[in-house]
Amino acid sequence: MKKIEHVSDELINSFIDDQLSADEKNQLLEAINADPELGAQVCDAQRLKVLVSHAYQRTPHSAQQGSRGASALLKYRHAMAAGLILVVGTFSGWFAHNWWDPLGLQSGRQQVYYLQPEQLAAKWSGQQKVVLHVGSSEPGKLKASLDQAEYLLNRYHHAGRQIQMELVVSGGGLDLLRADVSPYAERIKSMKATYGTLSFIACRQTIDRLQKGGVEVRLLPETTQLPTSALDEVVTRLQQGWTYVSI
């Protein structure tokens, strides 16, 4: 594999914004593994991205916002747009866009790990605090989240070092902790019993959204429900200096 000679800020941005090809990502991950300082730079860049997104999750609404104004406008314009129905009617694929946006951050995009477990395990000497986040129901990601958690917990426990970990799920990632959906109920029960410092945490916003859609949400008994959204939790932990790993 071709090695990257110099990792520019533009390349780091392209990495965290998921603008690189699979080969380019692999090359950069290799470089990150070999250079903890570069890993820290990538973490900082990702942290900024999360902060910016968080800052506009809740925006102040004007008097018109949410009022009948918008609907009235659209209804009024409905008549005007009637002549365009022929054009609009020929379009297909309206549903192609993925509205399921677990954190309001991912929009269905695949995130890559920007801190490899080996690097994370080797880098820290004091007590480590890690928040793992999974926002997708993709089977590989659900498994990877447990694998990463277990790997880190094992490494720290065997080294006699402390680690506190939260595995936060939101959006499709909630499947990991849903009693009637998760293929990992036994594994989660066992991990929770083995590692007292591990918490499995579910996004309240996702649960509410599912329930609003008529889905009954039953969670594994090891689950702690957040009072708010997963994003709030991640940002709070970032503020407290926790290391954030997106799965």
Partner: protein, 184 residues
Amino acid sequence: MKLLSLLFHSREFHRQLEESRSKLYRVAYAWCHDAALADDLVQETLSKALSKASQLRDAKLLQSWLFSIMSNCWRDHFRRLRGTEELDGLDEAVLVSDSSPEEDHARNQIVSRVRTAIANLPMGQRQVVTLVDLEEFSYAQVAEILNIPVGTVMSRLCRARKELKMALLVQQQDWSQVAIRRIK
């Protein structure tokens, strides 16, 4: 049957516009930090989208098309105010509203700090960073929305994030002093 299908698609179009409203508003607010102005921008955008619906050739491009309209509305807004000045050269004092009740209340909070840092960016950088970070648009989509080259998108993003890093991550030590909150 055909008429029913056309009616369905028309309603779908309106539904999609309604659903896009909050996304548009969020970005509009991040551009101007003024709730009333952001709302006006969104209204104008939706209105133009309805009247120009025939220009949308691919339904998959609806989101970037809407944001492109909003970017033009935003530009027009300042042209009306200031002739033909470029957005990058605008006096930031005009764009930054720091007196909303929410910001007053949360001045010392992280949200306020981030918004202030964003508001302090030149408008071109602000638009790029918010489109990428809030709506996860690709660089190519942002280039299309703002009608600028992809290279300009990347350089503006790079400069914006450098500024944000300077403004926000140096405060990291203060944030780490916050007592850990138990969530059980």
